[in-house]
Structure formats: C-alpha cells, structure tokens
C-alpha cells in the first residue's frame, strides 16, 4: 500500500486529500472516482498527465503529492 496526497488545482491547497491509500493495481480513474473528481485528470509528479487507465500505484512514491486538474482545459484557436 502507498499513501499519497491529492491536491486539486485552483483551490489554493484548500481542497487536498491527505493519506489517500493506494493498493497495487490502482488506476488513475479509480482515485478520481473515489474522490468524486469527475472531469479531472491526475498530473504525473514529473510533469505530464496520467491516462485514466494508467497504473497509478506503480508510478508514485510513498508520500508523494499528485495534482488533480480539470481535463477540459485546452489550447486552441
């Protein structure tokens, strides 16, 4: 089991889920669903974003903070 912190973008740190416990095999979408973060995506610690089906457990370290940000943000012209 790994414990991580999920911090929601744009909330100034006020919406932060501490001690989110991940079991092996936990995917990014599992965390978002559990935290009711519909329409969000999780950012990787080193930059970039997790795909919803990515193995989150394997990609994070114990105690790491990861960020949830709206997936709707998009560049365009």
């Amino acid at each position: 089991m790994k414990n991580v912190i999920v911090s929601v973008a744009g909330t100034g740190g006020k919406q932060e889920y501490k001690d989110v416990a991940l079991l092996p095999g936990t995917k990014a979408r599992d965390v978002l669903n559990k935290l009711s973060l519909t329409g969000f995506q999780l950012s990787k610690p080193e930059g970039g974003a997790f795909g919803h089906a990515d193995d989150l457990y394997a990609s994070v370290a114990e105690g790491q903070k990861i960020f949830a940000t709206p997936a709707s943000v998009e560049a365009g012209q």
């Binding site: 930059g47 560049a75 365009g76």
Partner: protein
C-alpha cells in the same frame, strides 16, 4: 687398622660473608598534591521533545516552485514547466510565465522544445516577444495551477510523441 681422615694441613677459613638485609626501605606516598580525578559538572543528556511540522495549504504553482508577484493591475507567476525526457532519462525544464488579469490567465513558455512543432497544438503556441511563446486558449485555464499543469502535459506529450 683404623683409618683416620683429616685435614692434611691447617686450613684457615676467612671470616664468613654475611649477607643480610640493608637498612629497611620505607615507601610512602609522595608529598606532592595528589591528582584528583573526578567528574566535572554533571552533563545530562535527554531526548528532545518531538516537534511536528505540517506543510501549510499551498496552491499547485507554489508546490511546483513558482513565485507570484504583483505587477500593477496584474499578477505574474514565474517558474519552470517540468517534464521528463525519456530519451535522455533526465528532467527538462522550460521557463514559464502566467499573467493573471482579472479572471483571465495568459500563459507563456520560453524556448519550447522543438518537438512542439509536430504536436497538434503547435498552432496554439505563437511567438510573442524574444524567446517567449504565448498560449492561446480554446477552453481557458481558470487558474495559474490549471495553466501550468496543462502546458506541462503538452510538453510531456511532445517529448514522448504520445498524442
């Protein structure tokens, strides 16, 4: 016949050598001041009381090491966008700037990776001033946090070719 054995001639024996103790030797403590070894002031070592430090609430830009400053009627965030270049196995960074004016967040990146030219969102990054490229929004970021994380996602996609 009786045989008598005796000295052949008169023999003189020198006085005996008497070996005995000399004058008794008395060993007593030196009359110098004795060296006294004793502990100095008592030193007490005890465990320090534990201190718990909890990180305060922080915005994402703050957590990522960006700084914020007021510039007239604007708020400017400055920092670096991070990504991992798996080809070289190292983290790469690009200078970034977010200008907040009202509810609008204008994002800039300096000298973006050349791989950006092949990304579908390349037309949305236009050269602004010097090394700076401005990001044009379709669905705008509503905070500096969202802007930083989105641009980092694009950079990561450029470097992996996964888009």
């Amino acid at each position: 016949m009786r045989i008598i054995v005796g000295p052949a001639a008169r023999t003189t024996i020198s006085p005996a050598i008497l070996i005995g103790p000399t004058a008794p030797v008395v060993v007593e403590p030196a009359r110098d001041a004795a060296i006294v070894v004793e502990p100095q002031a008592v030193l007490l070592v005890e465990a320090a009381s534990s201190v718990t430090v909890e990180a305060p609430q922080r915005a994402v830009w703050d957590d990522l090491g960006w700084i914020r400053r007021q510039d007239g009627d604007r708020i400017v965030y400055e920092g670096t966008y991070r990504a991992r270049d798996r080809r070289i196995g190292q983290r790469v960074e690009f200078d970034g700037r977010i200008v907040e004016r009202g509810r609008h967040f204008q994002a800039y990146i300096a000298d973006p990776p050349p791989e950006l030219r092949r990304h579908p969102k390349a037309p949305c990054f236009t050269r602004s001033n010097g090394p700076w490229f401005q990001v044009h929004w379709y669905r705008p970021a509503r905070s500096a946090d969202e802007a930083v994380l989105y641009i980092e996602k694009i950079i990561a996609e450029c470097l992996t070719g996964d888009y």
